[in-house]
C-alpha cells in the first residue's frame, strides 16, 4: 500500500476542498461533550482525535429511517422503488467502524442484493483515521479491529506534526492528487505510525480473554448457562445497545399514507432483537418473549450467528453498547469473558 504525508497545516485546506468541490462531507464533530458524525460546513468542526461517536457512521449507508417504495392509492395503485444515493465522503472513520461497514457490505450483498444500501455504499468514499484515543469500554485489539488494512479509500494516522495517509483505492488516490498537498512518507515516519498504533493499543482498558475464532465454540457450550437469566434481569428492553451498534442491521418495515389518502410510502427503520416485540407474531405468540432469550440472542448474533453466516465478526468491540446501557449489562466483552470463566 502506498503511503503519503499530509502536514497538519495542509489538512484544513484538503478538507475544505472536499467540502467545496467534491461532495457532502460527513465527519465527527463535538456534540454535548461527546462526538457525533454530522455534515461538515467547515473544516474547523472536524475532530479527528475523538474517542468514539454516539452513533456509528453506518447511519449514512443504512439510515435510521429510509423510504423503500412510494405508491399512489386508488382503484389502480401505482408503485415505484425509491433509491436515494448521493456522493458522500465519510471523513474520519475509525477502523472498527470500517470493519463494521465491511460486514454490512457482505450482509446487504449476499443472496438478495439490497439496492438501497449498495447504491449508497457505491457512492461513499471512506477516509479513515486511526483511533489513538480509545473509549474506556472499547476492546478492539482483542477482535483485531483496532486497525484496518482494507475497507477504506484513505486512512490517516496522526503522527504529531503530520498525518500518514495510506492509500486504499484509486478513488482515494485521485482525491489526494486533486485536493491535497502531499509528499512521500519516509521510513522514519512509517515507523512513527507503527509506534503511535502500538502506544494506542496500551490505552485500551477492556480485554477479551478469548480469541474471536473460539467464540462460536464457546457459545455452543453456553446456551444453558445461568448467566443469561442472571444478567438480563436488569435489562430495560430499551434497545439503546442495538441503536448505537455499528454491526446491527435488522429493521422493521411500515407503511405511511398522506392525510388525503392519495399516496404513501413504505419505509424501513432500525429495529433490533432486544426490543420486546421483535419476534412477536399474530395471536399473541412471542418467540423471544423474555429478557433472557433476547439477551442471549443478541450475544449469539455478535459472537456466533453472524460469523457463521457472513464470515465476519458480529461485534467490532467499539464499546458503544456498554456506554449506552443504563443497566450496565450490554458489553459483549463482559459476557464472553464470563462464559469463558464458566467453561473452565
Amino acid at each position: 500500500m502506498e503511503n503519503k504525508i499530509i502536514e497538519k497545516q495542509n489538512m484544513a485546506p484538503f478538507v475544505d476542498n472536499l467540502i467545496n468541490a467534491e461532495a457532502e462531507v460527513i465527519g465527527p464533530k463535538r456534540k454535548d461533550g461527546k462526538y457525533a458524525f454530522d455534515k461538515l460546513i467547515e473544516t474547523g468542526e472536524l475532530c479527528l482525535d475523538y474517542d468514539t461517536t454516539l452513533l456509528p457512521p453506518k447511519m449514512y449507508l443504512f439510515p435510521p429511517k429510509e423510504t423503500l417504495i412510494k405508491f399512489e392509492l386508488g382503484k389502480e395503485p401505482e408503485v415505484e422503488p425509491v433509491v436515494e444515493a448521493k456522493p458522500l465522503i465519510l471523513f474520519g472513520v475509525h477502523p472498527y467502524d470500517i470493519k463494521a461497514i465491511e460486514l454490512l457490505d457482505v450482509a446487504f450483498s449476499t443472496t438478495n442484493p439490497d439496492i438501497n444500501y449498495l447504491s449508497k455504499r457505491e457512492k461513499a468514499v471512506i477516509i479513515g483515521v486511526d483511533c489513538l484515543n480509545p473509549n474506556p469500554n472499547a476492546f478492539c485489539p482483542s477482535l483485531g479491529t483496532a486497525t484496518a488494512e482494507t475497507g477504506f479509500d484513505l486512512m490517516l494516522t496522526d503522527i504529531g506534526d503530520s498525518y500518514v495517509v495510506a492509500i486504499g483505492s484509486s478513488k482515494g488516490e485521485q482525491l489526494l492528487t486533486k485536493y491535497a498537498e502531499t509528499r512521500e512518507a519516509s521510513q522514519v515516519e512509517l515507523a512513527q505510525r507503527n509506534s503511535e498504533r502500538q502506544k494506542a493499543l496500551a490505552r485500551y482498558k477492556v480485554t477479551l480473554n478469548i480469541s474471536p475464532e473460539e467464540l462460536p465454540q464457546l457459545l455452543d457450550k453456553s446456551w444453558d448457562s445461568p448467566w443469561w437469566k442472571e444478567k438480563s434481569e436488569k435489562c430495560l428492553s430499551c434497545g439503546s445497545c442495538i441503536v448505537v451498534c455499528p454491526t446491527c442491521f435488522c429493521f422493521d418495515v411500515q407503511d405511511d399514507v398522506t392525510l388525503n389518502l392519495k399516496e404513501g410510502e413504505r419505509y424501513r427503520q432500525w429495529d433490533g432483537c432486544m426490543l420486546v416485540d421483535f419476534a412477536a407474531v399474530a395471536g399473541g405468540g412471542n418467540f423471544r418473549g423474555d429478557k433472557e432469550s433476547r439477551f442471549r440472542h443478541r450475544m449469539y448474533r455478535k459472537g456466533k450467528y453472524i460469523w457463521e453466516r457472513y464470515g465476519k465478526l458480529g461485534c467490532v468491540g467499539c464499546g458503544r453498547c456498554a456506554s449506552a446501557c443504563l443497566a450496565e449489562i450490554a458489553s459483549p466483552a463482559e459476557t464472553f469473558n464470563r462464559l469463558k470463566e464458566e467453561s473452565k
Binding site: I69, D105, D255, A282
Partner: protein
Amino acid sequence: MISQAVPQASIYLPHLAELIRIEPIAEREKVFEFRLKDGKELGHKPGQFVELSIFGIGEAPISLSSSPTKKGSFELAVRNVGNVTNALHNLDIGATVGIRGPFGNGFPVDNLKGKDIVIVAGGIGLFPLRSLINYILDKRSEFGRLIILSGSRTPQERMFVNELEKWHKREDVELLETVDEGDEEWTGHVGVVTTLSSEVHIDPEKIFAVVVGPPVMYKFVVAECHKKGIPDERIIMSLERRMKCGIGKCGHCQINGVYVCQEGPVFTYAEVKKLREAI
C-alpha cells in the same frame, strides 16, 4: 470492496396483482384468488410464501394455498387477525394488491416422489398443505399412498369443506378428520389430531410425514411419528415466525443462526431438533 455490483432492481418492489375471486371458508378465513397484472405466472412450489402488500397498510407473509399445477392465477387463504389481513378481508373483487415472492424453500416435492405421504394438518396449517395435496393429486401416479389427517377445533372451523368432501370420496386418498370439540350434528372423530394416529397403518420404510399446524401441535405429532417408526429426516414441518422482508435481511424471522424466510419455512425434524427455541 463491495463483493457484488449494485443490483438493477429493488427487492422491496412488489408486483401488482388483481384480486379475481373471494371465497369465505370459515368465520375469519377466506380464500383470495389473484392474477399478476403483468400476465406472468407466479411460479411457486408448494410450501413457499409471498409477501402480500395492501398499500398504505403494510405487508404480511402468506403461504401459497393453490398448487403450481393450477395455471394463470394463484390462491392465498387468509385468517383475519390484524392490520394487513383485515384490510385484505375488506377488499372487493378487482382490487389491486402487491406481491413479492415466492419466497422460502417450499416442501421437498422431489424427495416425496414415489413415497407414501402422511399429511398432518392442524387448523389453518391446511392452508399451505392444500397446495401440496392438490399438487400430489394432479400428479397422482408419481406418489405413493396419500394419507391426510386433518384436525379442526370445532366443526364450524373446518376449512375447505368442499374440498375435504371431494378428497373423502377419492379412492386414492385416505382422509381422516377430527375436531377437538364436536356438536350435535358432528358424527365424526372427536379429539386432537394425534388421536387419529391409531387408525393409520403405515410402512415406516417408505413414508414421509408433512406436518403444519399451531406451534403446540408439533411436539405431540413428532412423538406419534416416532412411535410409528418414522425417522427425523422424514418428518417435515413448516415453521411460522414474524417476518418483515422475506429475503434474509431484516432479522425478524431468525431462529438461532437460521433465517426462516431463507432456509425455511420448511424444515425436517432432524434440522429443527438441533435448533433451540424452534418448537
